[in-house]
Symmetry: C2
Subunit: 389 residues, 2 copies
């Protein structure tokens, strides 16, 4: 538990281990541990059955405790997006961390190089530019790291997401050649993530996008083979498409994140036949703090949950819609003849997008035995909250 900020004195009183769910203050982030552990087991079983490595994205839960839990259930390590996320988790004991994103700032690369030198964690990182490769090698040199293959480097190719990554084929070959020129670096494979495909609502839309992505990876692998380079691993995928990557024969590692908690956005996707089903395990507990004839107002606004994938949905009680009331408020309206909740009544929300929602909180309250009558079992620290650099 985050016990250091000036706020901690009263935050400590917000959730007490061993006490009932009813004693949890609002608005707070609550994990249904039973549901989360079922999600954990389902994804671990899937990866094992399909012979693919599991490297969950810790940008989702931001917690060393949950990263270690995933690794104790078969994950080879975790991904992060930022240097400082990697450092926070490494200092909290996570032993295999992949920065699945580009880092170009020399100051950040030096922090990473010092961690490669000093910590027992195995680090790896993505690149998509010659400057990135050069600066990475320089940072390791500055930190005095010169053992061959001290850092695994993956080349990101753009397989349709349209954000980072070089174009498939020749540009990736040029980068692998550059990596090979620095013995301290080891070319460890291709980063191929299609974030856009995750959120196609239909299974057919996701399959079409991923077929094109698979072609792009195969073309790059062929071009590298022609140039004399073997691709040890293709890594990528997310909760919306991992079944496709796992069945492609190309991807060897899945970077799924949201499956552990799920969110309202992924729940909006049409289910893929035969895919494991994941349950909502992350909730915002809030309560009604103002009430009139037209609506109730709860104490959770967009300081409690992210809204980049839309407003949260109301999990309980039934028959309520949630509309934005600003940073600190949500406006609840009754639907289908249901009554409005009473003043002070508890309302459970499912966040639209789990990753940035977790980033708003210092801790998550782990509940055993369900939301209705369960007990606080653990308070899970959000170790990488606010790790932007």
């Amino acid at each position: 538990m985050h016990d250091t900020a000036i706020t901690a004195r009263w935050q400590r009183a917000q959730a007490c281990i061993g006490h009932g769910v009813d004693t949890i203050d609002t608005p707070l982030l609550v994990i249904d541990l039973d549901a989360m552990e079922r999600n954990l087991a389902r994804m671990a079983a899937f990866a094992s059955e399909h012979g693919v490595r599991l490297r969950p994205h810790a940008k989702m839960h931001k917690s060393a405790e949950l990263a270690r839990l995933q690794m104790s259930h078969g994950a080879v390590g975790v991904c992060v997006q930022k240097t400082d996320e990697a450092l926070a988790l490494a200092h909290a004991g996570v032993r295999d961390i992949y920065i699945s994103n580009e880092v170009i700032a020399p100051a950040k690369l030096l922090r990473l190089a010092q961690a490669v030198r000093d910590l027992p964690t195995k680090f790896s990182i993505a690149v998509d530019s010659l400057l990135g490769v050069t600066r990475l090698a320089q940072a390791l040199q500055t930190a005095g790291v010169d053992t061959p293959a001290s850092l695994d480097v993956l080349v990101e190719i753009d397989v349709g997401h349209g954000r980072c990554g070089v174009a498939p084929g020749a540009p990736a070959v040029a980068l692998v050649q550059a990596i090979s020129a620095h013995p301290v670096l080891r070319f460890a494979g291709l980063q191929a993530y299609h974030g856009g495909a995750q959120h196609h609502r239909t299974a057919a839309g996701r399959a079409e996008a991923m077929a094109a992505a698979t072609n792009a990876v195969e073309a790059t692998r062929d071009a590298l083979k022609t140039a004399g380079f073997h691709v040890p691993l293709v890594t990528g995928a997310g909760t919306g498409t991992f079944l496709l990557e796992a069945g492609s024969g190309v991807w060897g590692e899945l970077q799924v994140g949201s499956y552990l908690f799920m969110d309202a956005d992924y729940a909006g996707n049409e289910a893929t036949p035969l895919a494991p089903v994941f349950e909502h395990a992350l909730f915002v507990k809030c309560q009604v703090m103002s009430l009139n004839a037209a609506h109730a107002v709860c104490d959770a606004g967009h300081k409690s949950h992210a809204i980049d994938s839309g407003m949260p949905s109301v999990w309980f009680p039934s028959g309520l819609s949630y509309a934005s009331g600003g940073d600190e408020h949500g406006v609840l309206r009754a639907q289908g003849g249901h009554p409005l909740p009473e003043l002070g009544e508890v309302v459970w929300l499912v966040p639209g997008h789990c990753d940035p929602t977790v980033n708003l909180h210092d801790f998550m309250v782990g509940v055993r035995g369900g939301l209705a009558a369960g007990v606080v079992e653990r308070v899970i620290r959000v170790d990488t909250r606010g790790c932007l650099g």
Copy 2:
């Protein structure tokens, strides 16, 4: 500076006092102190000239240091929205704090009552329900507070915002009667805030909404007078409409917040003639970390800035648009023949909405001498970041 979280070890290296702006890590929140102090002086002068009290909303900057700065420039105190914001600022030495929002949870009200009992800070709070009044009085009794008029209570009326507050007129009278039944409470006035009016783009739209709000306040004041109650104060207003409240003859106190930093959203309002002009003082410093022929990608996404009022605008360099690239990325495209920035180049963003943007950060870097060649003068802690309860 927030020096307590596990992350602080590397965050400390992200901005060093006395060093140049160029050494500030990315993405970080940077305050142009010169611009901020001009905004501070302009609003203080306005309030003084118009004979209205200034009680800036600290939900915007979330900083005890800036709250004290505002109070040293004529503000009578600050507002907050949450109990735990009030407690954090009170413990950090802010001596007059108004919770301009309803609190219904007994546990929170007890925390507040204990602070009323133990701290030198003068607290006040809004109510909009009989239950709220009853629970407030109970909490003070539980905490052993029984001196008459220990806590100022303001009755919130809905003057058009459509969120919290009772209807103007008779419902407000009932609440004031309930407050009067508890000698430990003191009826201190009306909370009348029209958030919706702030964001009408045209000056005429804002004036129309505020004329209706003024009528609602006057009707309530008349109803209270008939019932034998004097209204000591009407408090409300924001950066979008404060000129109207100040000139209404009804409002006696302004709760402006954004004026200190400004944001892209308020800057989109048509200016009101004769209103003081406020400058952008809050920026996200970020940098390009991926580049291709079509676009550049910067390292600031919606983990760096809030998007409830739209994407940030690009302050510098010119001719760039910002599109969402997710939690950690922004996609920059060139406009009007301008070039794309280079890999590693610094980009300055103006957040769409300052309040929830500040909430994403542990500290703000105060720069003296401008963004181009200034020096880090102060690192300002975000004391109430994550104070949700």
